[in-house]
Symmetry: D2
Subunit: 402 residues, 4 copies
């Protein structure tokens, strides 16, 4: 198992880190504060012009669309993983490098399964960073941990299809540039368990699509992205809006989720590294009872354990990326689930400990910690809750002996 | 050790529970949503008129100021503790029964240490629920875990005193009715380590007092209470504003914190009980993979452990209350710290597990869980971080063998 | 809930503690070492004569059979519980006060369910400490966590019954004075799920009873008690050997296990207290890197958490004892299971941490820690594994909302 | 970072696994039971002749001394690591491949630092598997966590040196073939902190060397190896017995401990894998409440977490091996300590959970679990306790920001 990245990827990593340090971190606190003050009403959300400038700059420097193998700048999973980690240091970074969820996953889906027409209409502007997209899968009425629960419907109407249903946790749908969403629903209820669902491209301005509200995470709305609740009420679309054909939803979903989970996990490790750095600096700078916090009680144990946990989770994620590159997602089913269990938990723990060391400040918005925590916490649910992934890992272990 | 409550207290508990169930829970979600939408600008925060109506109702029913032994309705700690737990079920409840922090602690201080004049001016309106108060102790520039770090000053100026310093995490200071704060600062730097500080009553409209902003917890501003950052710039007050005399700040603080911590801990257990109830109901109502969540994976272990942890933490808190009643706070130093370590941790864990069982909904504001979590999480820091309390418990254990 | 013990019980507790300190602890290390050196061949196991002398002394002082309510010296559960804790400090103590498992449980069964003849033949010598007994329930071939799995049979043969089956983990059966065992087996396979089993008194010298070996726990044989594997091969006994009648095994078992679990749990807390004392003393006496261990790293956190965990588990156990006294075991089903989950886990953790602080010495037999650990670890399985008790607690929680 | 092993190493791994499966596992239970029955008196300990036969066979097959880079069959750390893991499946295996501690470390020391004479006299017979050796470092009177505490002395007596002191936990010293020990003591008390100690080769039959007893671990004596307590009373030796020169003890120790810790950690992962296999098989074969244990409660979570933890710990250990190969132990200080913290903890947890799933049987000697547990538990102390290694990891983290 070779976890070495190519010289090219190392250079890109180094450039990315420098870019973040020089261009993103200095304005991060201000932009996050602005975003935070935009409040729940997403219709008024705006984009700071500096974000677009930085996107242009990233594009110029070749730090653009690195996540998508096969495209101009696209890297393999093992090469891209450390760059994903770097972008996890700041919640602002992924968009600037055009590699944020769910756009990256959507682009991957279109790249692999889209028709020429779909690619032209939606993939190209996404690759160019001109528009943004959402992904509508989770539903309020059913446990999303079991995707076959899905109740939204896609009705075959001859030349057209008709969509109905209510979705939520559609991330990114509040963004002013969000123009399209992938909608997943039940199209073939009579087919086999994993051939019943389809994915459809839905322009957000289609009649019948209503974004009802944004859902906060721990009270924060994550502007300008947002997590939306969306109603699809008899949305009629040409059949060409279906991706790859009716009934192929699960097949597409599975391919999509492998790399996407690696991106999330590596970003979370970047977030954890940042929390660790903040925690260490604080422990050296702040005094109580006549000593720096680093010399009090169990604080060094906390720091050591954080280093160990992060390093182990990273190795597991890199191993997973390497298998994905070598044999594809179906050779890494257990590993993908393993990292999905481990990294959000590690990130939550490390960030929470950093908060504790910062005292009240750590719970406010004066540091990036609460934002990072919300991201890590929601990833214990998004793309499958811990419980489901643990169940999959166990099932594959048991199968070895059956 | 008798943990039985008196028949009178049992009756009051039952009335309180019924009151909460009938009058508070039905309007809770609406009021919390309103509060949440009030955003960070505390100057516009308003009180829902129903809160005042419910306060009147509670007063009429004798469910008022139960926390303060010695007053008309005041109960012993062991009698009040289960009522505190009941009020922990809803973040709205404590104010309605006039027993919320920091008002309850401030009233206690004034009751025990206030001059007649202070009692008339501030205690009476607080007891009547006409005004609210804050407590200014924590400072941004120093580790509050070590209270002797405090840098704010109280200068003796003959007939007056002059206050200077910056405070934050002054809870309740954003409330429209908040009229006064207790300010703690360094007045006698030459005295012994625990005789250097004093407490002063500061009307919020005193020249030189500026509330600069409210601090969010996980992005939520906790309107209409808020956690303020406040500057005291040459605030001049008559010496009669000092509570009990210069140099007695720590003495007062210590007496104040015993019952206050019991209140917090019992409320947290109420919050944990509510989370457990929500979790259980959800686990019975929601299905995945063809079964209610209660029958999947380790969910029953989570429920059982929650029950055990809550019950143990409650017994420890009741024991502490009982010692406080019997021999006072100095006979329960270890126990007070023990419950301060245990209950926020138990509450955080149980609430977090409830969130996980609720999926994305649990992280939004559609349940009370995020609000309860923020309350529990901040209590791992407020009134002394876990680390300091664990240190105290250990010191007292070691002392037995030295 | 009144957890206060009676003045009489307090006096007995004090006497018991003094007795242990003055008479047992001084010879403990020697006796345990002797026991340890007796090895696996139980047929040669002997009793140190000092044990019998101490039993006589305990009898004289009225510290005898305190565990059995209704008998001459018997105390209520709440009164006896702290004495049980005291006896948990030394693995030698319970026998000396005639309150060790399984004899205490067996005496309770005979006291409550035995015929006059059974009482005369077996209960009296047990109460007198002249003989000892075992309890044969667990079987190697089936999961004992589910007692209805039991395969050993009791066949009705008219005037006699015939027993067949293999049992193991029959504690105390290696003791030279062990003369009788209670055997539990399937007698009425057609009856309802909890009316199929019976308990029978089997003299150990009955033809067909073969003790095949003693089972070590972590390599130690726990001489002179031992945990035996026993074969019952067509053992024919008069029907009068049945306790209370065929089909009543589960009914008896359930009554037996309530107080017995309280005894175990309180003894484990005594064991944990002793480990904590050893750990604290060691942490004060031993230096590394120029400081006592107490001042290094997270050791104080460990000590504080041990104190908190022990105190909480004790309160929960006392509460359970109190309910047992007030309303009987069926009013404390959840609580009995709760303490059965919590106290072995707390004891294992605290003892393991004490071992760690002692370094290699802690893993040897030079301290009592390994013996205490083995006792605590086996109690995570004996009398129902953690998993089953957690399951019961959860079921009762869920039932509240169904 | 390339964690791939060479084709040669992969072949050797496969042969080793087959050898263990075909030749060691079938006789393991019998040999371990025999060893267990040998009891505490090491002077009577014997070696089963099959062990010598298997050693010959391993030698023939080229599965001999694989651990020592630079020798005939010696592999790099990354190549040897998976083989070390394979040998961790059975406590019998390491000796059979001549790669058990402390012989492997002693051979490494002699290979790197020994004089020609020392190599001839001691290294060659060790490499040939003709004799065995011990390592005497730990002392009962001082905390070994701080090696500079060591009190045993090495006095320069002109042509000779004189050793005095008491050592314990000298592993392997009970073996009938153990002929020599490396002794570490204080020789140059005036020198710098890490130049005060020396290592000396002491024939076990030297006058003044007395093995006083063997120390049990959880009651088991680990025959025929044993952990001895040894007195050195004016042991006079020629100066040529000193390894590499006086004052170089720490320098040698540090080089020795890098690879040795990797061996221990990989073996522990092998032990954990075996426990996981046993646990899974048991969970499929055993039923309770009408289901296989695998389908009850949180058992699948336990299995999944075990898989994840083992895989992460392995990756971290392989990474450490790879750094050791590339830049030596001083480039892997943090990593060596990280794996020393993580792997014994993971192994203890997984083995303990396997015990729990096996019920009482898991605590007896009927499975290998207790033996594996004792090995894993002692490794939380041997070669530096967790606490010291965590402290080192933290110090290196803090140093990055100082």
């Amino acid at each position: 198992m070779n976890l070495t990245t190519s010289p090219n990827a190392q250079q890109l990593l180094s450039k990315t880190q420098t870019f973040i340090k020089e261009h993103i971190l200095p304005i991060e606190q201000e932009l996050l504060a602005n975003a935070h003050h935009q409040g729940p009403d997403w219709k008024n959300w705006t984009i700071d012009p500096r974000v677009e400038q930085l996107k242009d700059k990233a594009k110029e420097m070749g730090l653009w669309n690195l996540f998508l193998p096969g495209t101009e700048h696209g890297l393999s999973n093992i090469d891209y993983a450390p760059i994903a980690e770097a972008t996890g240091w700041s919640l602002l970074a992924p968009e600037i490098f055009n590699c944020n969820a769910p756009d990256s996953g959507n682009m991957e889906v279109l790249w692999k399964y889209g028709s020429e027409e779909q690619k032209e209409q939606w993939l190209q502007p996404l690759l160019d960073g001109k528009i943004r997209s959402a992904f509508c899968m989770t539903e309020p009425e059913v446990a999303s941990s079991d995707a076959t629960n899905m109740q939204a419907t896609i009705t075959d109407n001859g030349d057209t299809i008709i969509l109905n249903g209510r979705k939520w946790w559609s991330s990114g749908i509040g963004h002013p540039d969000c123009k399209v969403t992938i909608f997943m629903g039940l199209s073939n209820p009579e087919a086999g368990r994993h051939q019943q669902h389809s994915m459809v491209l839905v322009p957000l301005d289609s009649p019948g699509v209503t974004v009802e509200r944004m859902l906060p995470v721990f009270g924060a709305y994550d502007a300008p992205y947002g997590h939306g609740e969306v109603v699809f009420d008899n949305v009629e679309l040409p059949k060409s809006a279906v991706i790859a054909g009716l009934g192929r939803g699960f097949e597409i979903a599975q391919g999509r989720l492998g790399p996407g989970r690696i991106h999330h996990c590596m970003r979370l490790l970047g977030a954890a590294e940042r929390a660790l750095e903040l925690m260490i600096k604080r422990s050296l700078d702040r005094n109580a009872f006549g000593k720096p916090l680093a010399n009090l009680g169990g604080n060094r144990d906390i720091i050591a354990n954080a280093r160990i946990d992060i390093d182990m989770a990273r190795l597991l994620t890199l191993k997973t990326a390497s298998i994905l590159d070598d044999v594809g997602v179906f050779g890494a089913m257990s590993e993908v689930s393993q990292i999905k269990v481990v990294t959000p938990t590690v990130a939550c723990r490390v960030i929470d400990q950093a908060m504790q060391l910062f005292g009240g400040m750590g719970l406010s918005n004066d540091t990036v910690l609460t934002g990072l925590y919300a991201y890590a916490r929601i990833l214990r649910l998004a793309d499958g809750p811990d419980e489901v992934h643990r169940g999959l890992v166990a099932r594959l272990e048991l199968r070895k002996y059956k």
